[in-house]
Amino acid sequence: MTRHSSHKKQYGLIDFLKSWQLTIGTVILFVFVQICQRYILFDMEQTRVFVYEADKIAAQLSSVGGVSDFIALWLQQFFAISYVAPLVVALLYGGLTWLLQRVCSMVVERDLLLVEMIISWLPAVFLFVYTEDKIFFLTGHIAMLISVLGLWCYATCLSGRLRPLRLILIPLLFLVEGFVSSTCVWVMVLGMMLIAICRKEWREVGTIVLSSLLMLFLAQRYCIAVGAEELFSPDIFTIRIGGDATMIWVWLSSLLLIAIVILNVLKDRVRDTTISVVLAFSIVLLTGCFSYKSHKIEETHESLWLQRQIDTGNVVEAFKYCERHINNLYIANIYSYLLSTIGRLGDSNIFEEEEQLIIGSSESIIVRRHLMTLNYYIGYVAGAQREAFELNEPTEGMMRPRALMILAKTNIIQGNYALADKYLSHLKNTLFYRSWAQSYSRFLWDDKAVEADEELGSRRKAIEIESIPERWTAMKYLVSQIAAASPTLPATQYVDAYANMGAYDK
């Protein structure tokens, strides 16, 4: 009984929270990401698919930041499956924080949670100051994990019998970090210096400064040698970590900070609590300053959500969503598409302007993605191909899976089989699009099979129209041409919708 009581006392609520804060934080992060970030993560998968081609992998690994990019891309391919993306991010950051706590516990002998927080915030602040908020890639997360792993190795060496090994470890870490990400070299330098300062090992600080200068110089020479030097600042100073990493890092750190505040209040550590609150406000302020939650991003989220619903065949849910939100032309574009899929576009009087049915081309990635889908759907093959091309070309690696699928299909329709084969061969080297690519390979150099296929055959008829420079023709006339050439295509519904608005001259 006594034993049981003392056991109960040892694992009170505070201690329980302290022991489980990481697990709870990881679970909450998973839920948060699943609810708020999953479309951004879905967009990652859509942006660049991992291709199992030896030469591409070799080129990727040999570039600066290539290791983290390689791991990130490999993980990103699984984002095609729902829930995997948030799980990966949550586990990544759970692991990251755990590692950081291990580093702190090795450095700080007493229970200094505040110091731990300052250290954990270092990369976040660093990222805040320098990152571009428009980049959403997992690469930054991986690079950060490897950085902290490096710091953990360093702290382990510094604390134990392996201490002399740090002289080898420091250059080794720099080398690895250089390959992972040039940004992380800086994170490493600052982290190692902080560890040494916390341990009041001033000679060690000097060693780090000297080693880092030497290593940075060597890293810079390497960057120059491999042609990775930026124009106005050497590559070693260039930040390559994405904005979403910053957000999630901030969010997780905020949670930990709140936990510390609560713990400090409970322990009556007023001074520490005050500092924590001030820090928390500073962080919130920083978050506000650098947050990417702008109107444009809201639209991105909305569009990505709709896109995913359509992709997964959940058109009815997307349709219901749209009914509540026809607040911009992009959404109207999708709305007309959704109405058409359920056969209600022609008898709908919702659209007032011609432009609401199909908006024109734009250099925006989101618009291009929608137009690619919409153009292909209505049967405007050249337009779909152009948007797919323009969507794919400006992307690093040029491997947007859905763009490649449209490029393959449109080239099959046009009879450009060698080109279609090229795009299909890329998709055949992926994990999640391989079977799709193999199934479409049967159409290559087989006109009869293409013409017999409902999807491809109906669109092949639609390319037999008079070609007009797109800049000088209205969509309403183009869809009427397509509908006349291939009446089974959804273009027919668009013709009806245009007619309902009185768009055609009598």
Partner: protein
């Protein structure tokens, strides 16, 4: 245990030695094997990189026997690709110089190698320039992620960077042009960040700001004068539009264009009123090898060109050029009259011996890379001015930008015959008697994989006699500096 390991090692070594063992063909059957790239019966220079190729069709066990007059090489295929060792290849070329290489593809049948119908490659003693330069660019319309200007050694197929835009915020770099095939005279343009014309001449780089008040635009299509002092440029106002259903996806056209000449010594621009006519578009300048003539294309301005682009037809003309005083003649000589023929000329290039001019002829316009009907033609520059379609090197798809080797025996040209979109460089032999031969695609290691995976077009291929004299770092250093503004004479 040790004995077992020893036996195992012996077996491994023996197996490995089987792979490299020289095979021989036991019998030959009359059977054609399709290969990629189609190198059958091509004419090649004696210093070209290994002409690797792949067997088309299902993956099988193939070997290649290459026979030179006194040497034979046996190569096994990996995934149907024959990658010929560099050193052995060059030994074969040296052996077969002036003669032929006989290639026999063999398939494995049990323990025998069965040869198929052999084909030949003729090795001529006329060598090819050591390098070509080109731009690699996705064949897109508006956006891109990466592009750059590269050089490739023609004796090893090794590519290296001259300049990549990854360091200048993915801006546009274009028109890398070599003067008299010399690596000491090159230039290219950068648009957007660090914009300017980068002139690399005799060990120095200069960044030029080339827009003047009296020119339409910054410098565009360049052409070096053979003495290296002058460079002719066009200045163009260009636009594009897209087809809604057409084999040629896009139309690119000029609203207006002129030709000017830049004096590299005096940093000044001058022109003739005959090259800057208000009712005509002049473009694609090029000098004759003796430097006495400036060739160019010209078309009357067409009203509402964005709609009437198919009515634009460029003629081929020339005007005398006096390099001594830096001036022009007073008469424009029309070599090919587009109004009479209804077709349109682009990219004239005079052969180094001055005997012929080769140009692209298409149904209309000047941006021939997007015209599947574009073919290469030659015109004799004697009194006859005989026009000839180069059937030996043309295909059913686009043939466009071309340039001559230093010795005038080779021509590199762009073609989309491979897949209809991604431009690849081809090399054609032109003998002393004026005969053209079947061209071959730029050799690469594992070509079937290489070209299938390469989502970039080779743009503006030009011969160069050595590697670029400047590194990207040198160019970047100049990019940081203020550009030098060109003056008007």
């Amino acid at each position: 245990m040790r004995k077992a390991i020893g036996v195992l090692l012996t077996v491994v070594v023996l197996c490995a030695s089987c792979e490299v063992e020289k095979g021989h063909i036991t019998r030959v059957i009359d059977s054609e094997v399709l290969i990629y790239p189609d190198y059958k019966n091509v004419v090649i220079p004696s210093n070209i990189a290994p002409m690797n190729f792949a067997v088309l069709g299902d993956v099988g066990d193939y070997a290649l026997q290459i026979e030179a007059p006194s040497k034979t090489l046996w190569v096994r295929a990996k995934n149907n690709d024959f990658d010929i060792p560099l050193h052995e290849w060059h030994e074969l070329l040296a052996d077969a110089k002036g003669g032929r290489l006989t290639m026999t593809i063999a398939t494995r049948e049990k323990d025998d190698w069965v040869g198929t119908t052999p084909f030949e490659m003729r090795v001529v003693s006329d060598s090819i320039d050591e390098y070509i330069t080109y731009r690699l660019i996705p064949p897109g319309y508006v956006g891109w992620y990466k592009m750059g200007i590269y050089q490739c050694s023609l004796s090893t197929s090794e590519q290296s960077v001259i300049f990549e835009n990854t360091h200048t915020h993915a801006n546009c770099v274009n028109c890398h042009t070599v003067g008299s095939q010399s690596s000491s005279r090159t230039l290219f343009h950068m648009r957007g960040e660090c914009a300017g014309t980068y002139l690399m001449k005799e060990g120095e780089i200069a960044r030029l700001d080339t827009k003047t008040d009296s020119t339409i635009s910054a410098f565009v299509y360049p052409a070096w004068h053979p003495d290296g002092r002058y460079i002719a440029f066009s200045t163009n106002s260009t636009a594009q539009t897209f087809h809604t259903a057409h084999r040629d996806r896009i139309e690119v056209f000029d609203y207006s264009s002129d030709i000017i000449v830049y004096d590299t010594e005096l940093n000044e621009v001058f022109y003739s009123p005959l090259l800057k006519a208000s009712d005509c578009c002049e473009t694609f300048p090029t000098f004759s090898p003796d430097g006495k003539w400036l060739y160019f294309c010209t078309s009357p301005e067409v009203k509402d060109v964005e709609l009437n682009y198919s009515q634009v037809h460029y003629s081929l003309c020339r005007i005398a050029f006096d390099a001594e005083r830096g001036g022009f003649g007073n008469i424009v000589d029309t070599l090919y009259n587009a109004e009479q023929t209804g077709r349109s000329v682009s990219f004239p290039r005079v052969s180094p011996d001055g005997r012929i001019v080769v140009f692209v002829l298409s149904n209309y316009g000047n941006f021939s890379i997007w015209h599947s009907d574009a073919d290469l033609y030659s015109m004799s520059l004697d009194g006859e001015r005989k026009l000839k379609i180069l059937d030996e090197i043309n295909s059913s798809d686009v043939e466009s930008y071309h340039s001559w080797s230093k010795n005038g025996r080779w021509m590199v040209f762009s073609s989309r015959r491979d897949d209809g979109l991604y431009t690849r460089p081809y090399f054609a032999y032109y003998d002393e008697e004026g005969k053209w031969y079947k061209p071959f695609m730029l050799p690469q290691k594992s070509p079937s994989q290489f070209y299938k995976r390469l989502d970039m077009s080779y743009n503006v291929p030009e011969f160069m006699d050595g590697p670029s004299e400047f590194s990207m770092r040198d160019i970047l250093n100049v990019a940081k500096e203020e550009s030098k503004r060109v003056c008007l004479r």
